[in-house]
Symmetry: C2
Subunit: 379 residues, 2 copies
């Protein structure tokens, strides 16, 4: 199996793009990534997109984005795994290079949520749940996470401790040019905001935005940023059939496999980008990743361990809450951010001396997860 | 790169399943494939599905099908490339084994079209075209293929010659237990049927149905059916920007690459399953595959060259027209059928002594195509 390296990254600011199409946003991020890789010749394309079918009546995005790049002809495929689409597409792109099928892969994610009313975004989210058993009840994705949040508060933490996941994300986002909400937010503002789904406050939820992020993958050379571990795993779709709903088993399995591949332990990770679509999901992700013990992640975040200069910096550009969460593109923003950190090119967001970084995505309420571990190597 | 073999195939009859879910249909085909592979332990799952988002409000199918197999935890991902989804998912699954990331992959496709009104299926099809330039006009997929059909009739063939693509498919389907329409159809019936999109008659169009097909892929051993070549390619999405709209460039590129990998020429292929969603698409696919010269495929089909005992048997179980065309599952029915042929297990449909078989899918009006070439090897 060939070792795989990240040769280029590109992304656009997450905001509302009223006058541009999915392909157009994808092309901008992709061309930036190709330029960053030194203008290399891409030989295949992966595109992650979650809800183009619902929001733009658009499928078959592989062909469309290859065409938009001025490269009709290239092999191109769309990967979808709910909000984990970006992380999973990255995993598939890694395999394409590792297998020898491709020598230079462009993997990009794109999503445009501004085109639809907010309730359509809510519908889009819950389409990741099983229609026959869960979604038909009318529950929202926030509603499902709220049940976990309530249980977590009963057992382990105070509301404001969980809420600090959002506050810390916003702290990190200040000055981030591609972040949708790059400003500080106090814990009082979060706790005083209306309930989205009790006990989840609105200001504990990621927002709605448009974005695109892309990476170029090649066989590893002498030095750079390599993909040290990459894994995907799933879990029972219904929360009620899980052994312990507060354990994100998909995240845990993917992380254990990725750690094993990378030959690292959670303690070796210098920074992590985790899936905080709601504060509780970020908290439970940290625990499933082994970066905190069960029941302790909220307190860890409320302290200073996950700060930029803490023991394990988390969501160094703001996370889903502050950087933004354009669904199918999110996982690739995460991997791009980790790459910048390992290159030492993260500017004000830099974690000094970062060598190993982790990006974790999830789809549904962690019914699927991708964990990608990157490492700086060579001189 | 590891050589990859097909260890198991499974599928269900294509018909209307009113009381069963996507996951349920997938599981039946998948468990058949696993049983056919000797009850092997699958370590990852690929699922192809085109329109679950529109037809069942269901995405994130990777996690859902892993769960439905009683195997939550497995890595699982959905691949989508319009009606080429099945062929493209197979290509991705091949890479997973070739790369060493997986030792036993289950790749299955599923689609349920009966749940929706026929006009929704029409909408689903045209979502593969670019919304901003093509689909917004209100044109249907049949309407786009009709333009090619008209041009082909102007230049190369008589309507009844193109129509024979459907007639021959129906001839081959007789006795096929998984075919949706296993009966003979005369050319008069096709030519007398109403226009779907002039000059395409209704009886030149594939129908609407539900189905699921699956394969198990493993590293190649001593003998069996191997994946000799596997490739995906794209083309300009708009017909108006192509050099010659009667040349399916995506099919041509994918075929050339797959032939090169397999070290075979078109003349070495013993049978082909081609994408005849409309008769003209089957005809143009044969030409792009190099199985007929430009402008000659319709006459070839109207003769006896593509019959079961002809020079190059085509659509030996009926093709999309007679076996059926459940969108995202179709490409995997094709590969499963080719596998049966190469095993000598095709019963009344057997092409004697078949050693090399080809399956070709396309999405949109050939804006994307997958070509997979299988070969019998060993004793």
């Amino acid at each position: 199996m060939r070792r795989v390296a990240v040769a280029g990254v590109g992304f656009i600011p997450i905001k509302e793009y009223w006058d541009r199409s999915l392909q157009d946003l994808f092309a901008e991020a992709a061309l930036k990534a190709v330029r960053d890789a030194g203008g290399t010749e891409v030989d295949s394309v992966y595109v992650s997109n979650m809800s183009g079918s619902l929001m733009q009546d658009q499928i078959n995005l592989g062909a469309l984005v290859a065409d938009s790049l001025g490269k009709p002809g290239l092999p191109a495929v769309r990967v979808e795994a709910g909000t984990a689409s970006g992380g999973v597409a990255f995993h598939e792109a890694v395999k394409a290079v590792a297998s020898g099928y491709s020598d230079c892969v462009l993997v990009g994610g794109v999503e445009k949520m501004s085109d639809v009313l907010p309730e359509v975004a809510t519908t889009a989210m819950v389409m990741s749940e099983e229609q026959e058993y869960t979604a038909y009840t009318g529950v929202t994705q926030a509603g499902l996470s709220a049940m976990l949040h309530r249980l977590y508060l009963d057992l382990y933490a105070e509301p404001a401790e969980v809420g600090m996941m959002a506050v810390k994300g916003h702290d990190h986002s200040v000055g981030c040019k591609h972040a949708q909400y790059p400003f500080r937010m106090s814990i009082d503002r979060a706790m005083d905001s209306p309930m989205e789904a009790d006990p989840i406050h609105t200001m504990e939820c990621s927002g709605v935005g448009d974005g695109a992020a892309a990476l170029v993958l090649v066989p590893a050379g002498e030095s750079g940023v390599e993909v040290a571990g990459s894994a995907v795993a799933t879990d029972c779709c219904s929360l009620t059939t899980r052994n312990d709903p507060l354990v994100f088993d998909a995240v845990k399995r993917a992380a254990e496999k990725a750690y094993r591949m990378a030959k690292v332990k959670p303690g070796d990770v210098d920074l992590a980008e985790v899936h905080d679509d709601f504060t509780i999901d970020g908290v439970l992700s940290l625990e499933a990743l082994g970066l905190a013990k069960q029941g302790e992640a909220a307190k860890l975040v409320a302290g200073n361990a996950t700060d930029k200069d803490g023991k394990i910096p988390v969501n160094t550009f703001g996370g889903l809450k502050a950087r933004g969460h354009p669904l199918g593109a999110t996982g690739l923003y995460q991997v791009a951010e980790v790459t910048l950190q390992l290159r030492g090119a993260a500017g004000d967001h830099q974690v000094p001396g970062a060598e190993v970084g982790l990006a974790q995505s999830m789809g549904g309420v962690a019914s699927v997860s991708a964990v990608n571990i990157l490492r700086r190597f060579g001189k």
